[in-house]
């Protein structure tokens, strides 16, 4: 080791508490670097929505359009693919690695504001979901889907889907912080299925019957899909957009409420 370093004990601390924006940027910067260093994460995350989009269109387009249930099935399915692409995307696995490897403790030893430990990861999640949503959107455009709301509508479409992805991400974070267990975090993917399939994935709400119709009424994804579909097929329908955002916000409050409680529990018990 060298003998020329300056590690002298200071007359006062060199360290000090920063603003919440600075703390958030620091955590986000590292998390976003992590996103770009795990390209293997994106490939399966992209395959799922593309696969379902192609299969669903291939299987149901003729039936739904010929029977008059849906006018443009590709436009109907594109929001589903966006939801499939962004739901469950998070840095929760990386958080578990931090917990198990001790880096999370190192973060807790710094004067950083605790909420930014989650918020910074969310910033990285936003980058991830946008990176997943854009190729899916491009695929839809290539296959002939056109937006009534134009280019701005497309941007809103991606942001809208990303907001849903962020809202859902609170669940895997809650599990990661509560358990510190990678297997438990991976199993959080199970939550995706009821949200993604007990809704208007294949048919519009009017065509659903019985219990599925009831469940779809209470599933927030129904309103997110309505909002996304309205951007493609109907133009700026503020009521649909507002309902979808309200559903997203409600889920975000729930999931990040759980994640925050798990964070407090981990900090308290660590």
């Amino acid at each position: 080791m060298s003998t020329t370093t300056d590690t002298a004990v200071p007359s006062g601390p060199l360290a000090h508490r920063s603003s919440i924006v600075h703390d958030l940027a620091t955590v986000a910067q590292r998390a976003i670097r992590g996103v770009f260093r795990e390209p293997e994460f994106f490939i399966p995350a992209l395959i799922v929505p593309v696969f379902f989009f192609i299969v669903n269109v291939g299987a149901l387009q003729d039936f739904t359009e010929q029977t008059g249930i849906i006018t443009d099935f590709k436009a109907f399915q594109l929001p589903v693919s966006i939801v499939f692409a962004v739901t469950g995307v998070s840095r929760a696995s990386a958080l578990v690695t931090d917990i198990q490897g001790g880096y999370f403790d190192r973060l807790l030893l710094t004067p950083i504001r605790r909420p930014t430990l989650l918020l910074g990861l969310m910033a990285a999640d936003f980058v991830s979901v946008v990176m997943l949503a854009v190729p899916v959107l491009m695929l839809g455009l290539v296959l002939g889907v056109r937006f009534e709301t134009g280019v701005i509508g497309m941007l809103v479409f991606v942001a809208y889907g990303a907001a849903w992805g962020l809202a859902f991400a609170g669940f895997p974070y809650a599990i990661a912080l509560k358990t510190g267990n990678p297997a438990a975090v991976n199993s959080s993917f199970i939550l995706f299925f009821p949200f993604a399939f007990l809704t208007t994935t294949f048919l519009p709400k009017e065509a659903l019957t019985g219990w599925l119709s009831t469940v779809a009424t209470y599933n927030p994804v129904t309103y997110v899909l309505d909002g996304l579909r309205s951007l493609i097929s109907e133009g700026w329908v503020w009521e649909s957009l507002a309902k979808g955002l309200a559903a997203t916000f409600a889920l975000m409050v729930l999931s990040f409420g759980l994640a925050s409680a798990a964070m407090r529990g981990r900090i308290k018990s660590s």
Binding site: M1, T5, L14, A15, T110, K268
Partner: protein, 330 residues
């Protein structure tokens, strides 16, 4: 103002009292070694002092601030290298140091300057720009140490800093820790299960076992408390008979028996050992080894806890300066 002070500090996990009422006072600039076996409570003590773990009861101040009531002020003033090098393998060494500087709120210029300082310190060369996943255990440890120093802390906590390191990496860490303390006056709280590490580095040593501080003092004073010389006999037969034979000698005041080992402390071992050898020979108990040496911290540990700290005690406990081992009989 003391650097670290603990009063009746306790921490329980369910029914297990990991730290059972420890009082501690460490002065600024002191290097304090906390010595004990695995599970003795060392890491729990460190985690409480560095604000990662709330004490169940009692109180502690670090750099003048209460760890439970004012943890934020404590965190600004301490550096911590925990037992396992806690670093993110997906980042490069340089990125981790930069992030660490930002986490401590250092200004841009300070980060640049301190990074130069500590990169020089860790001596990792061009690998500083490689991802940490590719580092050896020793490199990770040194980077971990550098990260704990980026904000120039007043007090440094090192939790078993050399566990798992090869001898040369261990020597390098020792040299740096010694320099941080001697040249810069940094207060260092070091936990270790290695006797020679505590002996080499610490100004004072506290011996902890079962969550209780058994004794503390300078290494020299602790060893002197055992006696100037120590005669140790390993026997194969009845230890009670052998102990009685030795205790009958006029120059011996007491014999301690631990397993098949008898030890007696004396002011002049060279004068007594011949008589001990004759007494053991006369009582008919086979003697495997008879050793005269100066006491080690392991002897202190044995004296206060009733068991050795290290399985290979005689090799790990002694240093070249203190151990004048003389095999007399085998």
């Amino acid at each position: 103002m003391t650097a670290i002070e603990a009063r009746d500090l306790r921490r329980t996990f369910g029914d297990n009292e990991a730290v059972a009422g420890i009082d501690l006072t460490i002065e600024p600039g002191e290097m304090y070694g906390f010595l004990g076996p695995n599970g003795a409570g060392k890491s729990t003590m460190v985690r409480m002092l560095c604000t990662l773990l709330r004490p169940t009861s009692g109180s502690a101040t670090v750099a003048g601030f209460d760890v439970a009531k004012n943890p934020g002020e404590v965190r600004l003033r301490i550096g911590v290298a925990l037992q396992d090098a806690s670093i993110d393998g997906k980042q490069t060494g340089r990125e981790l140091l930069h992030t660490q500087g930002r986490l401590y709120g250092l200004k841009r210029d300070d980060i640049t300057r301190r990074m130069t300082d500590v990169i020089d310190l860790v001596d990792i060369g061009t690998a500083i720009d490689d991802r940490v996943d590719s580092y050896s255990g020793g490199m990770k440890r040194r980077l971990d140490l550098a990260m704990s120093l980026i904000h120039r802390p007043e007090i440094l906590f090192l939790d078993e800093p050399t566990t798992g390191l090869d001898p040369s990496s261990r020597a390098a860490v020792w040299a740096e820790v010694r320099r941080l303390n001697s040249e810069f006056g940094m207060t260092i709280f070091l936990t270790t299960q290695y006797l020679e590490e505590a002996d080499e580095l610490a100004d004072r040593v506290g011996i902890i076992d079962h969550g209780v501080l058994q004794t503390e003092g300078t290494p020299t004073a602790l060893k002197r408390s055992i006696g100037t010389d120590l005669i140790v006999a390993e026997v194969d037969g009845d230890t009670a008979v052998a102990a009685a034979a030795i205790e009958a000698l006029p120059s011996v005041s007491g014999v301690e028996v631990h397993g098949n080992e008898l030890s007696l402390a004396t002011a002049d071992g060279a004068a007594v050992i011949a008589a001990v050898a004759v007494a053991l020979n006369g009582c008919g108990v086979p003697v495997r080894a008879l050793t005269l040496r100066t006491p080690t911290l392991d002897d202190v540990f044995l004296s206060v806890t009733g068991s050795h700290l290290a399985p290979g005690r005689n090799t790990s406990a002694s240093t070249d300066e203190e151990s004048e081992t003389q095999e007399v009989a085998s």
